[in-house]
């Protein structure tokens, strides 16, 4: 749309309601009716002024049923995937977009109710509509029905969950029997037998670790659709996570400190973010022999980003390896052969999870001094965060 068109509309705007304003943009209307994504436009008060044919098809509501209704009137009962109501709250993404004038960086996955009362899952892109003069015209939502894809992802997750159970059960049994033999519960064994059984035991442990990590990767390999984007209290998540590591750090005699600003909130996948930050903190502890591990989390109001740093006083990562460590199956050359070596999946998962949340991940490290991982995630602060 060129400026001249917009300016013309601006002239109409005060006299006419936006419905007729858009009604006159018949070319635009027919274009929007051709697209297969649902599109609706609201005025600044979030009353619906335009509703395309795909929106009718996806939701079952006809244009005349929704025009003039406020999207906040819970017509579609938007909730995030965790079931939090979005309409008529400060969490409504459209409200936030219109208020802040900012376009959310990534499409949101939202559950809605169609006219038949069935739950559908839609991927929603939202943007505020502005005139060049800066006047707020309203907001636009473009949504795609991804119910089938989500169903497929759920099936995949169920498959992984059952596969994981099938693989782990025999290993756990093997572990139990080896433990029993080594503890002489089933009678005496000689030295050589003990040595061999110990070898089997260690190999079994290694295999169990690999299976665990590969299953993690399987779970994390899903497409974007399998990423849930729920309203998430990151401050609480991080605090619980760090506390969960205190025993492990304590065993190694390491300090484990944190400083987390309350109310850090984002739209994110709880399970995956927990996994990613666990990998970072777990690695920091694993590769630090003395000193401390520190996690800090705060908010940058200028960029609307949550900033998390995980630093350690560990062995550090040589410069020539720093680029490769986020690659799948990469394992640092210098990690001691006897230390528990991973599969090289941990940091790969961190990188993917951060990227899928439209975040960024940086590493600063000096061998012998330690490493600092810094994560930036788009988010916001919920005052009096719960």
């Amino acid at each position: 749309m060129n400026d001249e068109n917009l300016n013309q509309k601006k002239n109409y705007a005060p006299q006419n309601n936006q419905l007729s304003l858009l009604g006159e943009a018949s070319v635009l209307t027919s274009v929007l009716n051709q697209v297969s994504d649902g599109v609706y436009i609201t005025d600044p008060e979030r009353s619906i002024v335009f509703w395309n044919e795909a929106a009718e098809k996806i939701t079952g509501y006809r244009q005349e049923e929704v025009l003039g209704k406020r999207c906040a009137e819970n017509l579609l009962e938007h909730t995030d995937l965790a079931g939090n109501k979005l309409c008529s709250t400060e969490l409504c993404p459209l409200y936030k977009a219109i208020q802040s004038g900012k376009t959310p960086p990534a499409p949101l996955t939202i559950k809605a109710l169609n006219k038949k009362g069935e739950r559908i899952v839609v991927e929603v892109s939202i943007a505020p509509l502005y005139l060049p003069s800066g006047e707020v015209l309203g907001g636009i939502e473009i949504f795609r029905d991804i119910s089938d894809k989500v169903e497929l992802e759920e099936q995949k997750a169920r498959f992984f969950s059952s596969l994981s159970h099938e693989l782990k059960t025999p290993l756990a049994n093997m572990h139990g029997y080896l433990d029993l033999l080594l503890k002489r519960d089933a009678g005496d064994i000689n030295e050589v037998q003990e040595e061999f059984l110990t070898t089997i035991y260690n190999e079994e442990q290694k295999l169990a670790g690999y299976i665990e990590e590969l299953l993690d990767m399987g779970r994390f390999e899903g497409t974007d659709y399998s990423y849930q984007r729920n309203i998430l209290d990151l401050s609480t998540l991080l605090e619980n996570l760090v506390c969960g590591f205190s025993a492990e750090a304590g065993e190694k005699g390491l300090g484990l400190d944190y400083s987390i600003q309350p109310g850090l909130t984002l739209f994110g996948d709880k399970e995956r973010l927990t996994q990613a930050f666990s990998n970072l903190v777990g690695n920091a502890i694993k590769y630090t022999e003395a000193g401390s591990v520190n996690l800090e989390a705060g908010f940058n109001r200028e960029t609307d980003e949550i900033l998390i740093t995980v630093s350690d006083s560990g062995m550090g990562i040589p410069e020539e390896e720093q680029n490769a460590i986020f690659d799948i199956f990469y394992r640092c050359e210098h990690s001691q052969p006897h230390s528990k070596r991973g599969t090289g999946v941990g940091l790969y998962i961190v990188e993917r999870v951060v990227r899928r949340h439209d975040g960024r991940l940086y590493l600063k490290s000096e061998p012998g001094k330690g490493s600092i991982f810094t994560v930036y995630l788009p988010g916001f602060i919920r005052e009096g965060g719960q």
Partner: protein, 125 residues
């Protein structure tokens, strides 16, 4: 544990490897073990035998552990029961606890831990 008071424990677990492992450990501790491998057998044994506790897997063929628990609770409301489940079936666990299971273990677990928990609920009973 002394011989004369050998208590009978029903181990209902369809995975033969795990069943034998638990049973072996329990026998080491001086218990008498009645191992069964499906839900129907579990219910029959629980109702007919004079037992001191049940180790009950929730996912079993023929009759789910939950159904076994329901019926056992009617006949023997105070019998200590510890249920076994996997983490992904949390809903079942909640249901089992509501139905009066005394404790639970999520697989995989250390057999020693199971015995510890089992002895604790038997003491409290």
């Amino acid at each position: 544990m002394s011989e004369p008071e050998a208590k009978k424990i029903l181990v209902a677990e369809d995975d033969p490897g795990l069943n034998r492992l638990i049973s072996f450990k329990l026998e080491k501790e001086g218990y008498r073990v009645l191992p069964v491998f499906d839900g129907k057998e579990a219910l029959k044994t629980a109702l007919e035998e004079e037992i001191s506790a049940i180790v009950l897997d929730i996912m079993m063929p023929f009759l789910e552990g939950i159904q076994v628990l329901k019926k056992v609770r009617i006949a023997k409301p105070h019998l200590p029961v510890i249920v076994l489940s996997v983490k992904s079936r949390e809903g079942d666990l909640h249901q089992a606890l509501e139905l009066g299971a005394n404790d639970y273990m999520t697989k995989p677990f250390q057999p020693e831990k199971l015995i510890e928990h089992l002895q604790k609920i038997m003491r409290n009973n």
